[in-house]
């Protein structure tokens, strides 16, 4: 087989580049990781993603791919073992639908909930709880969204960890609590226990400190 060169440009605190790390590790793909400083982006990054100038970017044998879901699909189609997406077109469509839901609805709400307070925040909390209930409807009795093993949607749902950590950093009551959302809560524990996945989350204390700094100043003390 020809020699493969795989590089991943990311940041330690980005759920989006962490998604790609999970995908690559699940497939056993060797890669070079480049940690970017988003306040001082490297010429390489700007060259590989001139349109968005953002991470993550995967570079495979010199050819760049950007946008986390686009990269995940590329990884799945290039390294065909241990599939991340289901093979059935309908199941695939469901995974893509819910992944889009997470990025379009859950992620913006998660960012908002740590930047608001009072009544406005309460409204966003209700929104997120409903969104999580919807996700539970998709998960049902399965171990993971992907079934017995991690799949596309489990990886996409990693942003839930970022919300959990941010809430903890700010001393907020966790939205994803066992009482209200037992199914998703159970899933999250299994996700964090997974041998591959747990290598691909930011170190907890560093992440807490980071979240405290990032979100703490925008909220008046309770």
């Amino acid at each position: 087989m020809a020699e493969e060169e795989v590089k991943l440009f990311g940041t330690w605190a980005s759920p989006f580049s962490r998604r790609i790390e999970v995908a690559l590790k699940l497939k056993g793909v060797q890669y070079e990781y480049i940690e970017e400083n988003l306040t001082n982006k490297s010429p390489a990054l700007l060259n590989y993603n001139p349109v968005h100038k953002q991470i993550p970017v995967l570079v495979h044998n010199g050819k760049p791919v950007a946008e986390s879901f686009v990269i995940m699909e590329y990884v799945d189609e290039t390294w065909k073992h241990n599939p991340i997406l289901p093979t059935d077109p309908y199941e695939k469509a469901m995974a893509r639908f819910w992944a889009k839901y997470i990025d379009d609805k859950l992620w913006p709400a998660a960012k908002k909930v740590v930047m608001t307070k009072g009544e406005e925040q309460k409204g966003v909390i209700d929104e997120i709880q409903q969104q999580m209930k919807n996700l539970e409807g998709e998960l049902k009795e399965k171990k993971f969204f992907g079934g017995e093993s991690l799949g596309f949607l489990d990886i996409a749902a990693n942003i839930i960890i970022w919300l959990v950590v941010a809430q903890e950093a700010l001393g907020m009551d966790p939205i994803l609590n066992e009482e209200k959302l037992p199914v998703l809560h159970g899933w999250l524990q299994r996700l964090l226990d997974d041998a591959v996945f747990k290598e691909c989350v930011p170190p907890k204390q560093r992440h807490l400190d980071f979240s405290k700094v990032k979100f703490g100043s925008s909220i008046a003390s309770k």
């Binding site: 699909e73 893509r96 889009k100």
Partner: protein, 238 residues
Amino acid sequence: MANSSVADQEGQVMLLGFWFSPFVKRVEWALKFKGIEYDFVEEDSTNKSALLLNSNPIHKRVPVLIHSGNPIAESLVIIEYIDETWKQSPILPEEPYERAMARFWASFIEQKVTEPTRAALFSQGEQQEKKVKEIKEAMEVVEGEAKAKLNDKTLFFGGGNGVGYVDIVLGWTCNWMETIEEVGGFKVLDPESQPQFHKWMANFREVPFIKPTLEPKEKLVEFFRMVRQDRLGLVANE
């Protein structure tokens, strides 16, 4: 499994939609491109059917494709489903890197052209100006791509095979952009600074399976003027 895929291909196909929706039209283009028979169900936006609400309980909106009783929502998700279920006339390229490029551009179009245009339609003043600026910047990038990829022999982003995924995703601009400009009172199209894009639009409009589906501008303008007024609570004469 040959048997089950043949059965899938023969299962009933229904598309729930609105005549005026660019998202619905995209799905129709994908279906027509592949020569797939389907029943179109015209929904009433003021009175959504039980079928629609049950088929898309999360978003309660069109388009929804129902294939052999299984519903799929979100236009780009539907188009990929169509491409994977019916193998004739491929919409996406075969090669993984080419597919990634097509998906990248589809994502760019949605984020930077489609969404801001929708926002510009439903806003005014400074808010609208901000969106218009975003769209103009995005159109520069689109023109750059058109310059790089298209020529007298390659008329479409789908490349040597003619119309493809990016064309279908971007195609709404050919029928709706001028309408939304007129109704919203702004300008983002400019033949002088976007010559390749305008060539692409002219070619897209003439594609035999696309042309008969295009709605007359006057009809769209009348409809969207009403929609914008409703949303902004504007007086009819403004």
